[in-house]
Symmetry: C2
Subunit: 253 residues, 2 copies
């Protein structure tokens, strides 16, 4: 069988069945579909299904009885609590200082570095040109939630040092206060991505963990790009909540 080789199949199957139970697709006391059927559905062998069920069995989700079937032994536990960050993407993305949640930031580095390709395109400089960069980590209750990288031309942002950012100052404030930039607009792009080993190490997560990737492009009054930020946000343990009024029909169309 061709496997485009990510996670071992038995673990993929286990993950999927676990979610089915957690979702309530199989209820406590139910007999789940027999191995033969699961083999068929997932296009894998007997042994792969068995290993998946063995995992679930060890975790206490199911119990297999020879000749009878595999029975769900545990109801879906109540939601694993996620830390909820309020406000929509627009708000929390680079201005998380004075909110209700105690977010702490650490500046890892603040130095001239070669421009990554994606940024050099935006800031209209050559690939590898030295840019002012700053790398930060943010935590809630000690847990890392995001990794921020800011880029800018050294002429404009060069005055920002590690010490400029304490305590928990945000980037927009500093751009205005220290660099005298007339900030007018931010173009924001949000994507979902998976952590590679570099990001996994920084964010203290497993390889493959889903992340939000946010790119902010800061523009001044003349529509010139002043700075670029790249934010990598853990998406697995944090939920981003917002409340939207539907009284006005306009945008629902």
């Amino acid at each position: 069988m061709i496997n485009s080789s990510v996670m071992p199949q038995y673990q993929q199957v286990a993950t999927t069945l676990r979610r089915r139970i957690a979702n309530g697709e199989y209820l406590e006391g139910d007999i789940i579909p027999p191995s033969s059927e699961l083999e068929n559905f997932f296009s894998v062998s007997n042994i792969t299904i068995r290993k998946a069920l063995a995992l679930l069995s060890n975790e206490g989700w199911v119990r297999s009885r020879r000749g009878v079937g595999t029975i769900v032994t545990r109801a879906p536990s109540s939601q694993p609590l996620k830390i909820a960050v309020s406000g929509n993407f627009t708000e929390w993305v680079d201005s998380a200082s004075g909110k209700s949640l105690p977010i702490k930031q650490t500046v890892l580095e603040c130095a001239l570095k070669p421009a990554p390709s994606r940024v050099s395109n935006i800031l209209e400089c050559a690939l590898g040109d030295a840019l002012w960069t700053m790398q930060r980590i943010r935590r809630i209750a000690g847990n890392i939630i995001s990794y921020h990288v800011n880029f800018g031309r050294p002429e404009v942002l060069g005055t920002i040092k590690k010490s400029t950012m304490v305590p928990n100052r945000n980037f927009v404030d500093v751009l205005r206060g220290e660099c005298g930039v007339n900030l007018m607009r931010m173009d924001q792009t949000v994507e979902a991505m998976a952590a590679d080993r570099d990001l996994a190490a920084l964010l203290e997560v497993e390889f493959g963990t889903p992340l939000f990737f946010v790119e902010n492009i800061y523009l001044d009054g003349a529509d010139t790009v002043v700075a670029v930020s790249h934010l990598y946000l853990r998406g697995d343990h944090y939920a981003y909540q917002t409340s939207i009024s539907l009284e006005d029909d306009a945008h629902a169309r």
Copy 2:
């Protein structure tokens, strides 16, 4: 060595190095760190690094020369084009019909089904109670971008059929038009997650692909929950863009 066993390590390393090159951390013509150093950094064996480099070599990113080192042979290609969906999460999430992009939806099923645990909590019914549910797929240019599941009490939403949704009608419209609901508010939660095999099959992606998971809770004038929607959105090939005015200081604090 303990591997919490996701993707094979040599592929993890390859993914990481590929991104370093694409980012411009290693430039064309550069000699990348020698295997011994990479072994050390990634805490893997010689052979694992070699397999990773063999992958990159086949893909034309690098060329290894015995006794010399491994040289980067390809500059980062220009951004792989992503389809950009404009507007922020608030807007595009369940109202994508009449936008500039030609989004087409297909109703997969519209039937009474047992409530998933997460939804039964919100709609305050027992786990497994029959709820009205509707499942939809949305495409842009033939490519699946999202999978939507709507839930509601059968007394309220039971009149909605497959045919009610054509052509490309959105859920909010139907709630108001067909069900006479006085919609007032929507509470939205956004998370990043990875596709299991069920979602992977529906969205036609690989297991592990990063997805946006959006939960919308629809409330009427009396703050009663009327309906719940679960949206699973491909996050890898689609970027969500918005432009934010920074003229007003208020929210940057």
